[in-house]
Symmetry: C2
Subunit: 95 residues, 2 copies
């Protein structure tokens, strides 16, 4: 099982726009057969930090997600709002 | 609901020792009533990066965990093995 951590630091006045884009992405992604969970969290210390915590069945599921129309549409839609480069980390379960 | 991301970068030759400490901590923590999940993952790109992804019911549950004997014992036991300062991030669920 895989965990992806996708951290977005967004411009101060763009949180609503980003939440709208991510909301649509969440709905579509949770319908993907290889997705286990896909949850959006906000930093308690900094509301401009929005991080998606994702769990996936296997690498094939991640590849399918990365190739999907909804994922690529969201990536493009988010481009104007980044205040820092996104941080993406990929993990496998130890226990 | 809260998410905690606790990222440890450990010295090259210490992964086994760190996994032993974290294994004991995982067993104890999952028994805490306010813990929802507590999972240990390893970076796919760097085996010395070990991250615990934690979900908690509320702030009181986090406070109780931070005050617990098993948590503080593990913190002390991990001290010799850090290759970089741990990164701890705290989040609340958006959706």
């Amino acid at each position: 099982m895989y965990q992806i951590y996708a951290k977005f630091t967004v411009k101060d006045d763009s949180t609503d726009e980003v939440l709208a884009v991510l909301g649509e992405l969440i709905d579509e992604t949770r319908r993907e057969p290889g997705n286990i969970s896909y949850q959006l969290f906000q930093s308690t210390g900094d509301p401009t930090i929005l991080t998606v915590f994702e769990q996936w069945k296997d690498q094939e599921a991640i590849d399918a997600h990365n190739a999907s129309a909804h994922f690529n549409k969201a990536l493009t839609a988010l481009e104007p709002y980044h205040a820092a480069p996104p941080v993406i980390e990929v993990y496998t379960l130890v226990r």
